[in-house]
Symmetry: C2
Subunit: 350 residues, 2 copies
Amino acid sequence: MDRRNTEKNEEASAQERPTLKTLAFMTGLGVTTVSRALKDAPEIGAETRRRVQLVAKQIGYRPNRAGVRLRTGKTNVISLVLNTEQEIMSFVSDIIYGVSEVIADTPYHLIVTPYSRSQDPLDPIRYLVETGSADGVIISRTQPNDPRARYMLERGIPFATHGRTEMGLVHPYHDFDNHAFAVEAVRRLASMGRRKLALLTPPVGLTYYGHTVNGFADALSEVGASEIPFSTVSIDHSIEQIRTRTAQLMRRDIRPDGFVSSAAAATLALVAGIEDAGLKLGRDVDIVSKQSSDLLHLFRPELLIVNENFRLAGSELARSVLGWISGAAPGSLQSLSVPGEVLAYNRTPD
Amino acid sequence: MDRRNTEKNEEASAQERPTLKTLAFMTGLGVTTVSRALKDAPEIGAETRRRVQLVAKQIGYRPNRAGVRLRTGKTNVISLVLNTEQEIMSFVSDIIYGVSEVIADTPYHLIVTPYSRSQDPLDPIRYLVETGSADGVIISRTQPNDPRARYMLERGIPFATHGRTEMGLVHPYHDFDNHAFAVEAVRRLASMGRRKLALLTPPVGLTYYGHTVNGFADALSEVGASEIPFSTVSIDHSIEQIRTRTAQLMRRDIRPDGFVSSAAAATLALVAGIEDAGLKLGRDVDIVSKQSSDLLHLFRPELLIVNENFRLAGSELARSVLGWISGAAPGSLQSLSVPGEVLAYNRTPD
DNA sequence: TCAATATACTGAAACGTTACAGATTGCCAA
DNA sequence: TTGGCAATCTGTAACGTTTCAGTATATTGA
């Protein structure tokens, strides 16, 4: 039996992928010793350790993930759970890159776990947990009372949420301060003399819907402006729906002279609707919009813009999950991104 | 030994994840039989097979991926290799969803393997192949002579490319017919009386750069229009660079009265540059642009638009890779997407 | 000198799966 | 009755890793 192993390794040394057995054969040590030497275990002699690590590097040894996973249960996988229909487009791309950046020099792989509108959002989470497919999970579209967060908390699987929950439970998150965004947006519009403001909201039900609405309301009373209700659509609605509803709104007697918009694509539709109604951006109405890629100012220079950095969000979320996996306290892995100033492109900033 | 297994399964049946051993215990069969019964092996009795599968479904048995992978080498993973800086944004999101759609009811997982501008594009491929991390790979930004495709072909690992190669080697691909796109675009511009055309090209070096340039040139001579060179930028350049160069170009005595643009974001910059030069879209110049999300018509209704469906590309690529993995001939897994008609939004279609 | 102890290393077992090489049973032809 | 054979089923080993329970050797203290 021993002879056969030896033969195999001798013959295959140039061909097959090296394993601990290969290293053991080459160094003349036992498999156990090699395994421990590679992970700097204390009871291995300093010289042996160096020797093993040198040889390992020389022949390009890489631990077999299946072996590790089978033995230890550690998958070295982070799963990003995404809704295939409702995520903001640049969100997907940017958050993936943000996560990638952080896990690039770790053994972690990123798997994308999609779910569709028709499914229970809990489905993909259950799958991941039941099959033990990931060491950590990142979810988006977080709700105040989020069953996914509760579920994972109960099972003790590390995760981070994009957006906060309001369940009195502690878990890592990264969030953009949408309350502050709405406040700044309203203040800006008010400073330009706009007094009747409307809000194109985030998707109803998500936590940041509440943040945004509250910030909007708080600032309205602060500046003494009034709200023109516009709750028939949210940024989750189709471009066409937003456009149509906006045009309808703008043809009424009492119409807004300022908008706060929570997403760039929705802002395009908003502007189209406004122009459908024969009104002009910058003259009849102003808009403060969030964007995640730097394109909106090309669309209409009159737009007032606040940037949200999803790549940063991805990095922060990845850092949080990895932190939790490696034992940090969940409560210490929460971050809030403060909006930058409102940017204007066709006038001198005040 | 047998007793210990039994005990463990008895105690743990409610708690731990069921394995073949659990099923074997419950059905009173051997582990081997259970394994074969689940995969419809021929030498298993019809009733036994049904019984095993019923119990498996009842207790929600899921094969342990690490076990399968260790034993068979099969990872049940498809890797999507992406450049973290240069991919078109909607490409990332759409292609992921396209792939997801296809692998949704298979045991496959999708892992995203990123690489950065500074890296050799071959690096991530080498990593995947050397570590055996995926059963199939999808790559983008394909070049006429693509070292990645050659490498994977040599090692016999199934893959599909977004875009074609020109190495005389057969492999699965999905491509958009950019030659046809350029031809149709030029014809359209010519039909509107545009005679001096410029092309905002794809990234130099990618295969579809050639397709686009050739289509553009072919159609120019067909319609008897002339080309205004605009080779200082491509869609890979920054928005600001494209904008500046466009403005420079449009201020010259001899300037284009028509553009063909290979990407939506670049088109925004193009329009901005044109307007910087004091010219007006639809009057002084027309643009035919590709887009992958349906937003460009909101930007300027005068734009002429051709849609490219990246979600479809993702699905096709996934289908191709899976096909190759399951033994289909690589040559039968190639597809070309024909551009739809040029869409106009502010005039009646002709 | 001897036992105790620290140091450096090792084999066997186990994770869950599949492939290989049997084993058992029943049936049929000779 | 018996040998052969098909139909079903089974135990063992192996994939590469880590953990457990050691073993062998040198070192220390008395």
